[in-house]
């Protein structure tokens, strides 16, 4: 027995089992590699924090990405965040904060050795997590329905129209009447391919629309009048070629066309400039939703992992596994859970409260 162990053994001449420190009601198994139980507890917690440091860096990169694009495309960020429902966001924050409280209560109960209180508190925490994920499911479904999930189906014009139908015009703070909604009859240019070729296509189809006097181009975003879906096929390339637009003289456009706002309008009519601007708007909004889904998705995965860990703890406690007679596993899962909470504390104002 080491010196520290002997000292702590002699300094606390209590009997076996009935001595209840008011902090530590539950006995803790001491592993042989540690000097005393305090050192063991400290090591466990430092170990968990080491993991959490890596998690901070993990999420940190995404937070940096968010800040970068928010700074570059602030208007698009303000415009796109109107699709997120602040009510759901607030409710989710409330649920997560509550789950953090029930988690510390579970840790407290574990420290006191109150087995069933701890189990029920963890169960409430799990319930809160499912509530959180349920709301996230509702929100995600709405985004899918509004065609706001990044990818080939992303359609900002449709999304704006649906938003206008559901909410009326411009009553969300910080969001002006969006130019896209005024022009929503042309659904086609909103198909924001990642390549410039796609963009050029969109412009051309737009100018084609303009030259036809907009006849037969209703608000159907896919069935573009008589052309049908062939617009995306060879027909359009043919039109594109016949136009002989001098694209070489166009200014260099920025990162993946994201900065595309033509400074010269050599071969482009005014409507094409508008179309280009709108396509750029769509791409930037898509960038917002890419960041949104990446960050909230990763956070959601962490919630799922938290549910898994809490379930394991509950199960082990129910069968009286020796490892969870110690309160430490609960404490460590608690640390993890509070970290997930902190991530959401920052995600909520950054995603829902942009103004």
């Amino acid at each position: 027995m080491s010196l520290r162990r002997m000292q702590s053994a002699t300094s606390k001449p209590h009997g076996d089992g009935h001595a209840h420190d008011h902090h530590h009601g539950a006995p803790q198994p001491l592993s042989p590699q540690f000097e005393d139980i305090d050192q063991q507890n400290e090591s466990y917690i430092v170990g968990m924090w080491t993991f959490l440091v890596t998690e901070i860096m993990f999420f940190g990169a995404l937070f940096f990405t968010y800040s970068l694009y928010r700074t570059l495309y602030f208007d698009a960020w303000v415009d796109a965040h109107k699709f997120l429902d602040i009510l759901w966001g607030t409710l989710n924050t409330f649920i997560l904060l509550t789950s953090s409280l029930t988690m510390v209560l579970a840790v407290w109960a574990a420290q006191q050795g109150k087995k069933w209180l701890m189990i029920s508190m963890l169960a409430v925490t799990i319930l809160c997590s499912f509530g959180f994920l349920g709301i996230k499911y509702i929100e995600y479904s709405a985004k899918f329905e509004e065609k706001l999930f990044p990818g080939k189906n992303f359609d900002y014009v449709t999304a704006n129209r649906m938003y206008k139908e559901h909410h009326g015009a411009g009553h969300v703070k910080g969001v002006a009447e969006s130019p896209a909604t005024a022009d929503e009859a042309h659904g086609d240019e909103s198909h924001t391919d990642d390549s410039h070729a796609g963009e050029a296509k969109a412009e051309e189809s737009h100018s084609e629309t303009a030259s036809h006097g907009e006849a037969g181009h209703g608000d159907g975003e896919h069935g573009d009048g008589g052309h049908g879906n062939k617009l995306h096929g060879k027909t359009e390339i043919g039109m594109l070629m016949s136009k002989k637009t001098n694209f070489d003289n166009q200014p260099k456009e920025g990162f993946n066309g994201m900065m595309a706002e033509p400074t010269q309008a050599i071969a482009l009519a005014n409507t094409d400039r508008e179309a280009q601007k709108e396509a750029a708007r769509g791409r930037r909004a898509q960038l917002f939703f890419s960041v949104y889904f990446a960050m909230t998705g990763l956070h959601g995965v962490h919630v799922l992992v938290g549910i898994l860990m809490m379930s394991v703890i509950i199960w082990m406690r129910v069968v009286d596994h020796i490892a969870v007679k110690d309160y430490m596993p609960t404490e460590l899962v608690g640390l993890y859970w509070h970290f997930v909470d902190i991530v959401w504390i920052f995600l909520f104002p950054l995603m829902y409260l942009i103004s």
Binding site: R4, L105, H338, P349
Partner: protein, 127 residues
């Protein structure tokens, strides 16, 4: 004070004089923290809904509230307050690293994006 069980000794209480002794918050502290967090949630939503000081001030205020909330969670719920100096060091370390990373990559804002081939239509495609 300790008895064997499956190769472990069971310790019934820790030594408050140990340098690595961890103190635990009371139930009352937990509840106070919780209601403070809820109040801050109301504050941040109210700031968004009823005030507008321009983009720069808005984000600073929102982040100030968020940092305060995170601070409360780290200090009271994650019990860095009752923890040892080593735990405090570890807890602060991650956030300092994050701030460092943020500062280092700030220059991304000043960088020019370089177009890569494939991102734009090549001339022969358009002629």
């Amino acid at each position: 004070m300790a008895h064997g069980h499956g190769g472990f000794e069971f310790i019934h209480h820790s030594d408050p004089n140990s340098p690595s002794h961890i103190k635990h918050p009371t139930l009352k502290e937990y509840w106070v923290t919780y209601f403070a967090l809820l109040a801050l949630l109301v504050v941040t939503v109210a700031l968004y809904l009823y005030t507008n000081f321009g983009p720069a001030i808005n984000i600073v205020m929102a982040m100030a509230v968020a940092i305060l909330k995170a601070f409360l969670v780290v200090r009271n719920f994650m019990n860095v307050k009752g923890g040892t100096k080593l735990i405090f060091l570890w807890a602060v370390l991650g956030f300092i690293w994050f701030i460092l990373m943020f500062g280092i990559f700030m220059d991304y804002l000043t960088r020019q994006w370089v177009d890569q081939s494939g991102w734009q239509p090549l001339p022969y495609m358009l002629r």
